[in-house]
C-alpha cells in the first residue's frame, strides 16, 4: 500500500516539464437505465507553455475531461496531477473559459474582470492595473463600462478571456469558447487568441469539435472518439505562428486530423458492432 502511494507521487519527477498529467482517467455516468462510460482510461499530458487541443465530435466526453481537469467534476478512476499534485477542487490556477459567456450581468465588463481578482484577495490598485492591462489585451478598452447584455457574442467571449487571464492562472482551460459565434467572429478571435498566447506564453488546454480551429491554435492536437471517450491519436502541429486558416499547411494538416478522426470513429463503431453481434 505504501509502495503504491509512493508510486503515485513519482510522476512529479517523471513527467518533468508537464504541468498537467492525466493517467488512466475514467468517468462513468450512471442513470437508472444505463451506465455510460464517458471517459475510458484517458492518458495525456500538457507541457508548460504549450497549447494543447482536444478535438472530437459532440458527446465524446471532451467537456467532461476538461471539467475533471478544472476540478468541477471528478474522475472515477485514474490520476489527475496538476503541477505534481492531485486535483481535488476547482481553483483559479486552472481557470475555465466556458462556451457560454459566464459573465455576471449585474456587473459591467471592468467589474467582471476585477471580480476574479477580488476573489483572489488582490488590493484595489492592483486590481485596477491588472484589469486595465487585460481589457486592453483583448481589445475591449472602449467597452469596459458596458454591461454584458450590451455586448455582442464575440465581445462577451473576449471579456470572459480577459477575466480569466487577469488572475494570471497557470493554465487556461477553454471549453469550445468560440462554438456559439458566427464564422467571421470566430476567425478574428482565433487570430487574437494566437497572438495573446504567444505574448503571454499561456499554457492552454482547448477543447473543440472544429478540426480547423484545433489545427490553427494547437501546438499539438489529440483526437478524441466517443462512446466510450478515448484519446487515441496525437498529431503535432509544427507550423509557425500566426497561422492563417487558409494557408495550405493548415488545410493539409486539418485534412489529416479529419481523416484520423473519421478513422478512429469508424474503428470504434466497428468494434461496437462486432461486440453487439
Amino acid at each position: 500500500m505504501t509502495e503504491r502511494a509512493r508510486d503515485d507521487e513519482r510522476p512529479v519527477s517523471q513527467t518533468g516539464g508537464d504541468l498537467l498529467a492525466l493517467r488512466d482517467v475514467s468517468r462513468h455516468f450512471r442513470t437508472r437505465r444505463n451506465d455510460t462510460l464517458a471517459l475510458d482510461k484517458v492518458t495525456l499530458s500538457v507541457r508548460e507553455g504549450e497549447f494543447l487541443c482536444i478535438v472530437g465530435p459532440s458527446g465524446c466526453g471532451k467537456s467532461t475531461l476538461l471539467n475533471i481537469v478544472a476540478g468541477l467534476d471528478h474522475a472515477d478512476e485514474g490520476v489527475v496531477l496538476f503541477d505534481g499534485r492531485p486535483v481535488k477542487k476547482p481553483g483559479r490556477a486552472r481557470i475555465v473559459v466556458f462556451q457560454e459567456p459566464a459573465l455576471y450581468p449585474w456587473l459591467n465588463v471592468r467589474a467582471n474582470v476585477e471580480l476574479g481578482l477580488k476573489i483572489a484577495g488582490r488590493g484595489g490598485k492592483e486590481r485596477r492595473q491588472l484589469a486595465d492591462r487585460y481589457i486592453a489585451l483583448v481589445n475591449l478598452r472602449r467597452f469596459e463600462k458596458a454591461f454584458i447584455h450590451e455586448l455582442s457574442g464575440g465581445m462577451r467571449q473576449r471579456a470572459q478571456l480577459a477575466r480569466a487571464l487577469a488572475v494570471e492562472p497557470r493554465m487556461l482551460l477553454m471549453d469550445e469558447p468560440f462554438a456559439a459565434l458566427d464564422a467571421q467572429t470566430r476567425d478574428v478571435l482565433q487570430q487574437e487568441l494566437q497572438e495573446i498566447c504567444v505574448r503571454t506564453k499561456a499554457t492552454v488546454l482547448f477543447v473543440t469539435h472544429n478540426v480547423r480551429e484545433a489545427v490553427i491554435l494547437g501546438d499539438r492536437v489529440w483526437v478524441m472518439t466517443p462512446a466510450p471517450g478515448r484519446v487515441k491519436t496525437e498529431i503535432d502541429i509544427p507550423l509557425p505562428r500566426p497561422r492563417s486558416p487558409d494557408s495550405h499547411a493548415v488545410v493539409d494538416l486539418a485534412a489529416r486530423v479529419r481523416a484520423e478522426l473519421q478513422h478512429d470513429i469508424y474503428a470504434a463503431q466497428a468494434a461496437e458492432d462486432s461486440y453487439a453481434i
Binding site: V96, W106, V109, N139, R142, F143, A146, E150
Partner: protein, 287 residues
C-alpha cells in the same frame, strides 16, 4: 504567465463596431415631446371621466345618497384634511403597513432562501408556505384577535401574514433560478463559500427579490385595508367604515381615492424605480 506590459503598447485600437456611444453605453435622451403628448392624453381622459361623473349626478339617475358628485367628494376631502383626521388615518395605516411589511421581508426572505437552498426545508416548510399563500390573510384576523387581543399587534400580524408568503415564494424562486453557470464561474475563480454567496448568489437573486418586494407590498396593502375595515381603532379602513355608518358615500369615495393615490405613488416612486434599475443592470434576463 505574466505579460510584458511594454509589449501592450502595440495593441491596436478596438476594431469593434461603434454603434454605441463613446463610453460603450447606448446613448439615450429623454423624449420630452412624447412625454408631453402622453400627459395631455391622460389628463384629457381623466377630465372627461370626471365630467361624465358630474353629468350623471346632475341628471339624478340615482339618488344623491348612492352616487355623490365629484364636487361632494372634493368637499369631504377638504373637510377631513382641514380637521386633520385624514392625515391621522393615513399615518396610522402607513405605520402599521411599514412595521408589518418590514417584518415580513426579513422573515419571508429568510424562509424563502432556506427553501431555495435546501431540498429538505423546501419539502417541509416550503410546502407549508405554498399552502398558506392560498389563504387570504384576513382569515387570520379572528385568530389574531384571540392571540393578541384587540390591539395594534393583531392588525400588524394580519399585514405580516398577507405579504410574508409572497415574499418567501419569490425568494425561493430567486435562489432556484440562478443559472448553474454562475456557480461554476465563481468556483473556477476560486471562490469560497462566503464569496460564492456574496458575489454570485445574492446579486443573481436580485431580480426575483425585487419582484417579491413588489408583490409582498401589494398583498400587505390589501390585507391592511381589509383588516382596518373590521378593526375598531383608526386607519383609512376605519374611515371607510365611518362613511358607511354615517351613510356618507362621498366620504367613502374620498377615502377610496386617497387609497388609490397612496398605492400608485408608492408604486411609482419606489417599485417602478427598482424595476427599471433591475432591468437596466440585469438586462434582458428579467425583461
Amino acid at each position: 504567465m505574466a505579460i510584458d506590459p511594454g509589449s501592450l503598447d502595440a495593441v491596436p485600437p478596438a476594431a469593434a463596431p461603434r454603434r454605441t456611444g463613446d463610453t460603450g453605453r447606448p446613448v439615450r435622451s429623454f423624449d420630452w415631446q412624447g412625454f408631453a403628448l402622453k400627459a395631455i392624453r391622460v389628463a384629457l381622459f381623466y377630465i372627461a371621466l370626471i365630467a361624465l361623473w358630474q353629468l350623471v349626478c346632475e341628471l339624478e339617475l340615482w339618488a344623491r345618497l348612492l352616487l355623490p358628485s365629484p364636487e361632494q367628494v372634493w368637499k369631504q376631502l377638504r373637510f377631513y384634511t382641514d380637521n386633520g383626521l385624514l392625515q391621522d388615518a393615513v399615518q396610522t395605516s402607513m405605520t402599521r403597513l411599514f412595521i408589518g411589511y418590514s417584518i415580513s421581508l426579513v422573515i419571508g426572505l429568510t424562509i424563502g432562501m432556506a427553501c431555495g437552498a435546501n431540498k429538505y426545508v423546501d419539502e417541509t416548510i416550503g410546502s407549508l408556505v405554498l399552502g398558506f399563500q392560498s389563504l387570504p390573510s384576513i382569515t387570520w384576523f379572528p385568530l389574531a384577535l384571540l392571540w393578541f387581543g384587540l390591539n395594534e399587534t393583531a392588525i400588524i400580524f394580519v399585514v405580516l401574514m398577507g405579504s410574508i408568503f409572497a415574499v418567501a415564494i419569490s425568494a425561493r424562486a430567486g435562489v432556484q433560478s440562478i443559472p448553474p453557470l454562475y456557480r461554476r464561474a465563481a468556483l473556477t475563480m476560486g471562490a469560497n463559500r462566503f464569496q460564492m454567496v456574496r458575489y454570485t448568489l445574492i446579486p443573481a437573486m436580485v431580480p426575483s427579490m425585487a419582484q417579491g418586494l413588489k408583490l409582498g407590498w401589494s398583498f400587505a396593502w390589501r390585507s391592511l385595508m381589509a383588516a382596518e375595515l373590521i378593526f375598531v381603532d383608526g386607519g383609512l379602513g376605519q374611515m371607510l367604515d365611518l362613511g358607511r355608518n354615517l351613510n356618507r358615500m362621498s366620504l367613502v369615495i374620498a377615502v377610496m381615492l386617497v387609497i388609490v393615490v397612496i398605492g400608485v405613488t408608492i408604486d411609482r416612486l419606489l417599485f417602478s424605480r427598482i424595476e427599471a434599475w433591475v432591468q437596466e443592470r440585469w438586462g434582458l434576463q428579467s425583461a
